[in-house]
């Protein structure tokens, strides 16, 4: 076993050493640390504890890096072998499942670990800058290492469980996102909801609200971000081995053992039977009911039926969203004690909000797949030779994806009809429009990345969007925005500028996507 594991391990390290992007990533990391140091130095007069602020930025950067690595790098350890069809070869070469798991995951974890270790001496500079103790630095690194161990092993399990890298990355993304977001927005959401419910006379101290609060508290305890915030408070004197560290390490071990235990059953080919998202009508029935005949807009038909799941998934989504919203209505009824119809009426705002999120999630998934699927299945060449321009083909594909949104949009409209005032109020805010434009830009970015990276287009777009929105776009956009605001004296003009920049960037990305599609067909 040891020979095979070592072979996989050295192959992974060699590959990492050969890839330019690995070195570029390390260089980018060094640049970011250096920028943080310079920024801290410049602002040292205004900052109370410059060392702590410097260390905080480095630690957040590390969390972001580990999370991204978990979604894209760790979660493909086994799926990439499945996709290349080489997993069977490894097993036939006599490498045991444990050997494969160790060989494939250890290289990746070590690559990430080296990056953390290499920066450790530099982060000690934070002590000389003042405001942070060595205990805090060690505690923060303990938290980070535990998070790295947990995420890499969860991603490894996702990689064993899923057939495709995209799906494994998606699972990991959910596990990354929940403890990141929920501790911060969860309590606010609960507070907002309980205020609303209290206004109609509901008891908000027990039942649903108490359970939700307990769940959020439990998740908060394992959130690495919450732990880092606690470590970086003045006068921190706790042990570096916290509940978060213990839970993450125990979970890491559990997920690794689970990956090992389920490896054989989850990685063997279950069936070679063809599967498809839509049902095949019985022979002879096709022409009678006209089902599955190609539409006039054939490209739209293809993507609607075979990429998004077609009518069958329409019905499933109608049912799922309906069940979700009905559950909310029932909870409202239980907590308020008023009639369901009255509860739903008040829940119009919730329906609109939930469906807006559903639409965003669906669109993000379609954006990452709409062109990627054609490239992956090598079908792009065939459709490029059809007598249709690349632009028309691309827009027809997008139309197919938009058609799949009908269930979510339907419920959204229902919510808007139940509470039109709130929606109108929302749409009057220029910031909402800026947000919509920014989301459209994000979708373009996802579609573009799906053409240039093999996997992880969606997480990459998320990371780039986050980095740009706080790192580049905000300061760059601030100058013209301030100028416009100064000249017009209108704050809405500022938003208009953001919308304008978003539209121009989206148009530029469309051109880039078009160029990439043309070159992809000839490859």
């Amino acid at each position: 076993m040891l020979g095979g594991t070592t072979a996989l391990f050295t192959r992974g390290l060699r590959l990492d050493a050969r890839l330019l992007r690995s070195h570029l990533l390390r260089f980018l990391f060094a640049v970011l640390i250096f920028s943080g140091l310079v920024w801290t130095h410049i602002n040292s007069n205004t900052l109370g504890a410059p060392g702590r602020e410097f260390f905080r930025s480095i630690t957040y950067l590390n969390v972001a890096f580990i999370s991204l690595a978990g979604i894209s790098f760790f979660s493909t350890a086994i799926t990439e072998e499945k996709e290349e069809g080489t997993l069977g070869l490894l097993l036939m070469a006599g490498i045991s499942p444990l050997g494969i798991l160790l060989g494939k995951s250890t290289t990746r974890v070590l690559t990430a670990l080296f990056l953390l270790l290499a920066q450790f001496p530099f982060t000690l500079l934070a002590i000389t800058l003042g405001g942070v103790t060595i205990r805090q630095i060690f505690a923060a690194y303990f938290a980070l290492f535990a998070y790295l161990a947990f995420l890499s092993n969860f991603a490894l399990f996702a990689s064993v469980y899923c057939r495709r890298s995209g799906k494994a990355g998606g699972f990991t993304c959910v596990v990354v996102a929940i403890p990141m977001i929920l501790p911060f927005i969860g309590p606010r959401w609960i507070a907002w909801l309980s205020r609303r419910m209290a206004a109609v006379g509901a008891d908000t101290d027990t039942g649903f609200f108490a359970a939700a609060s307990s769940a959020i508290d439990a998740i908060t305890n394992v959130s690495v971000l919450v732990r880092i915030d606690a470590i970086l408070t003045t006068g921190f004197s706790e042990s570096p081995v916290s509940l978060q560290v213990v839970l993450h390490l125990v979970s890491a071990l559990a997920f690794f053992l689970l990956s090992w235990a389920t490896f054989d059953s989850l990685t063997s080919d279950h069936s070679t039977e063809p599967t498809r998202l839509i049902d095949v009508p019985q022979r002879g029935k096709r022409r009678e009911n006209g089902l599955n005949r190609v539409w006039r807009n054939y490209m739209m038909w293809k993507d609607f039926c075979f990429m998004t799941g077609g009518v069958k998934w329409w019905l499933i989504k109608f049912a799922l969203y309906g069940i979700g919203l009905a559950t909310v209505a029932i909870v409202l009824y239980w907590t308020t004690g008023t009639a369901i119809s009255s509860g739903i009426g008040q829940g119009g705002e919730i329906i609109v909000g939930a469906m807006a999120i559903a639409i965003m999630v669906e669109l993000s998934i379609y954006a990452s797949n709409v062109f990627r699927q054609e490239l992956r299945d090598k079908t792009f060449l065939t459709i490029t030779l059809l007598p249709i321009s690349t632009a028309r083909m691309a827009y027809a594909k997008v139309a197919g994806c938009l058609l799949a949104l009908v269930p979510a949009v339907g419920y959204f409209v229902l919510g808007a009809l139940l509470d039109p005032a709130s929606l109108m109020e929302l749409l009057e805010l220029p910031l909402v429009w800026a947000g919509i434009v920014f989301f459209v830009l994000f979708l373009h970015m996802t579609a573009y990345f799906s053409l240039i990276v093999k996997w992880g287009a969606l997480p990459l777009a998320l990371a780039v969007a986050s980095l740009f929105s706080v790192g580049c776009v905000t300061p760059l956009a601030a100058i013209p925005i301030l100028l416009v605001t100064e000249m017009t004296g209108d704050e809405a003009a500022m938003i208009m500028m953001m919308i304008y920049f978003g539209c121009v960037s989206a148009a530029a990305l469309q051109v880039l996507i078009g160029l990439k599609l043309r070159s992809a067909a000839a490859q």
Binding site: E273, P274, T275, R276, L277, I278, V280, R283, R286, N292, R293, V294, W295, R296, Y298, M299, W301, K302, F306, D377, K378, T379, F380, L381, T382, I383, T384, L385, L386, P387, I388, A521, A522
Partner: protein, 319 residues
């Protein structure tokens, strides 16, 4: 689709060069393919076959030189050309979740055929490819040979004048290969021009009217199959088969005027005779053989096997 101009060649490749970054895939290649011809395009791996095919089917633009398909420039008349060609790539690029019928219906709709016309065309191409009984099957569940037939059926949906097939027989079992070749012969009989790239040299020899051999981006030979298979023009080579009552021991064939070499196959009543056509003629050599009282069974021009011609024209190793 028919065309009124029947005088131009189906494909004209004139002094075309193409590079990918530092690597030169094609170096000043030129060849022509007549209409309604089945043309073989042969070359070792990395010779530039797929690049040439992609240039002809308008997926790439020639960097130097020009290519004309039915008289239309591939760089300028992309749409016109795409309507008249059918390209089958070397890999199976198919929507595997679709049924055979849906797949062909999709491409029929893409070429703007009406529902009635699509029904008729799909029926025809499925009959031609012997896949009529599989129209409701999901493509993913079909064997490789059947998927190749569906792929060929897809190429035929828009009734193209020119079929460009990149390694159509690769990965197929012998039966599927023979059946595919039979379909191609049938298509040639229907007046299609077929440009077929393949490594299966022996099959090309039986199938093709003409052949182009390409190696390291250069055309080594382009012309009729007979021309390639006959020996070089300097010497004539004939194969002599003699009867059982032929004299034992060495027969002095090499004493006939103009004969350069004689090779006898051990244990066989067969000789390979090489002579200089500038000194003597076939008739004179035959006359000499009769004078030697050799019981002649047959005296025929010797043809090289396509594999031998290919080996002679191409170089060893990876380009």
């Amino acid at each position: 689709m028919s065309t009124t101009d029947t005088t131009t060649a189906a494909i004209e490749v004139n002094n075309v060069s193409h590079s990918f970054k530092e690597r030169r895939a094609l170096r000043n290649i030129s060849f022509q393919i007549a209409r309604q011809e089945l043309h073989g395009f042969v070359g070792p791996n990395g010779a530039g076959k797929t690049t040439a095919l992609k240039l002809i089917c308008t997926l790439l633009r020639p960097q130097v030189g020009n290519i004309r398909v039915f008289g239309h420039d591939v760089a300028a008349d992309v749409k016109l050309i795409r309507h008249r060609i059918g390209f089958m790539p070397d890999h199976f690029s198919m929507y595997r979740q679709m049924t055979v019928f849906e797949y062909l219906d999709f491409f029929g709709a893409a070429y703007g055929l009406s529902v009635e016309r699509r029904n008729q065309v799909i029926g025809d191409v499925l009959t031609l490819t012997d896949m009529d009984g599989r129209r409701e099957d999901i493509i993913n569940g079909l064997s490789r040979g059947m998927q190749q037939r569906v792929s060929l059926a897809r190429v035929l949906v828009n009734d193209p004048d020119l079929l460009l097939l990149d390694e159509p027989a690769s990965g197929l079992d012998p039966r599927a290969r023979i059946e595919l070749m039979a379909i191609l012969r049938e298509l040639r009989g229907m007046g299609k021009t077929i440009f077929i790239s393949s490594h299966i040299l022996s099959e090309l020899a039986e199938l093709c009217d003409s052949v182009t051999i390409i190696d390291r981006g250069e055309v080594k030979f382009s012309g009729a199959m007979e021309e390639l298979l006959s020996h070089d023009s300097r010497h004539a080579v004939y194969r002599l088969r003699v009867g059982p009552d032929a004299p034992e021991g060495d027969v002095p064939i090499d004493q006939i005027e103009g004969v350069i070499g004689v090779e006898k196959f051990d244990g066989q009543a067969e000789y390979v005779i090489e002579f200089d056509p500038e000194i003597t003629s076939t008739n004179s050599v035959l006359q000499g053989l009769i004078e030697l009282q050799i019981p002649i069974v047959s005296f025929t021009a010797d043809q090289k096997h396509l594999n031998q011609a290919f080996m002679d024209l191409t170089q060893r190793g990876v380009p």
